[in-house]
C-alpha cells in the first residue's frame, strides 16, 4: 500500500504530500511524547499524533516514517508545514481520533 492509497482510503487531508508513491510497510505508531516516538516509530511506517509543531518534522525525518497523520482535526502550524515541505515529509490530516484512525489503518493492513 502506498501513502496515496492510504490518503484516499482514509480520506486524509494532504497538508504536504511529497511522495504519494512511497510504500507503507512498517506498520504504525501512535504517540505524542516526541522523545519516546523517536525511539519507537518504525521506518516506512505511519505515525499518528496530535502534536503539530516543527519538532514533528524532525522526528519524522529521524525515524524515516513513510508519513505522519495529524489526528483529531489538528492542523500543522506554519513552521511545521514549511519544514515538511523543505524536508520532503508526507504530512496528512484526519478528523478521526487517534484511536479511530489507528483502527481504520489496521483494517487496511
Amino acid at each position: 500500500m502506498t501513502v496515496q492509497d492510504l490518503a484516499t482510503q482514509l480520506n486524509l487531508t494532504p497538508f504536504h504530500l511529497e511522495d504519494g508513491s512511497r510504500q507503507v510497510t512498517g506498520g504504525g505508531y501512535c504517540g505524542d511524547l516526541l522523545s519516546w516516538v523517536m525511539g519507537k516509530a518504525p521506518a516506512d511506517g505511519v505515525w499518528l499524533t496530535i502534536m503539530s509543531n516543527v519538532n514533528v518534522a524532525a522526528v519524522a525525518a529521524l525515524t524515516d516514517v513513510a508519513c505522519v497523520i495529524l489526528t483529531e482535526s489538528v492542523t500543522p502550524d506554519e513552521p511545521l508545514l514549511r519544514k515538511a515541505q523543505l524536508q520532503g515529509i508526507n504530512l496528512l490530516g484526519s478528523s478521526l481520533s487517534t484511536y479511530q484512525c489507528a483502527a481504520a489503518l489496521s483494517r487496511l493492513s
Binding site: 511524547l33 516526541l34 522523545s35 519516546w36 523517536m38 509543531n53 516543527v54 519538532n55 518534522a57 524532525a58 522526528v59 525525518a61 529521524l62 519544514k83 524536508q87
Partner: protein
C-alpha cells in the same frame, strides 16, 4: 522526555561538548509553583547567527545526522506549561540556558531523578567543575565538585564508582527532604 531531569541532562551534555570546564545548574522554585532552571557554562559559546536558530531541530553540531532534538524538546517542554526558554551566549565565554516551567500545569513533566542526573554528569566528566543548587521554599539541596575535590585531593577521581554512589545518595537524601517537606505541608 518523561522527566525534566532527562532534558536537563541532555542540555548539559551540550556544555560538555562545547568544551566547558565549569557548569552551574541552578533550579529555583517559588511559592507560586513556577520553576526556573538555569544551565550556565563557560564553553566556547555560539555566534549570534547560530544562537538565533539553535532551537530549530534541524540545527545541530552533530556530524552523524542532521537532526538535533535536545534544545527543541526542552523548549517544547517549557512552552507546554506556559513557560519560556531563553538563551544567552558569547563566543569564547559560554552559554546560559534559562527555562521556566509552571509545575502546577497538567502538562509539566515531573522533575525526575535530579540526584542521579547530577551524579551521572560528574561521573561522565570528572574534570568538569559542577555547581548544583536546587532552592525551594522548603529548603535547599546543594553540591559543588570544587568542595568535593578539596576534601578528596587530587588522587581520587570523581569518576570512581564509590564517589558516584556517594554523590547520588547524598543528593537523593537532600532532594527527598525537599519532597518530604512538600508532603508535610
Amino acid at each position: 522526555m518523561k522527566e525534566l531531569s532527562l532534558n536537563i541532562l541532555d542540555v548539559a551534555q551540550n556544555s560538555i561538548s562545547a568544551g566547558a570546564t565549569r557548569l552551574d545548574l541552578t533550579l529555583t522554585e517559588g511559592e507560586s509553583g513556577w520553576l526556573t532552571v538555569v544551565i550556565a557554562d563557560n564553553g566556547r559559546g555560539m555566534s549570534p547567527e547560530f544562537l538565533a536558530k539553535v532551537t530549530d531541530p534541524f540545527t545541530t553540531t552533530r556530524t552523524t545526522r542532521k537532526v538535533g532534538m535536545g534544545l527543541a524538546l526542552y523548549l517544547l517542554a517549557a512552552e507546554q506549561t506556559g513557560g519560556t526558554l531563553r538563551m544567552e551566549s558569547t563566543p569564547g565565554q559560554g552559554t546560559t540556558v534559562t527555562a521556566t516551567f509552571d509545575r502546577k500545569h497538567l502538562d509539566c513533566p515531573p522533575l525526575g531523578d535530579l540526584a542521579g542526573t547530577v551524579a551521572l554528569l560528574i561521573q561522565g566528566s570528572p574534570e568538569l567543575e559542577v555547581h548544583y543548587r536546587h532552592t525551594t521554599p522548603r529548603g535547599e539541596a546543594e553540591l559543588s565538585t570544587e568542595e568535593l575535590k578539596a576534601v578528596l585531593g587530587d588522587d581520587i577521581s570523581l569518576a570512581e564508582p564509590e564517589i558516584f554512589t556517594w554523590i547520588q545518595t547524598y543528593l537523593s537524601e537532600q532532594e527527598a527532604q525537599l519532597e518530604g517537606a512538600v508532603q508535610e505541608r
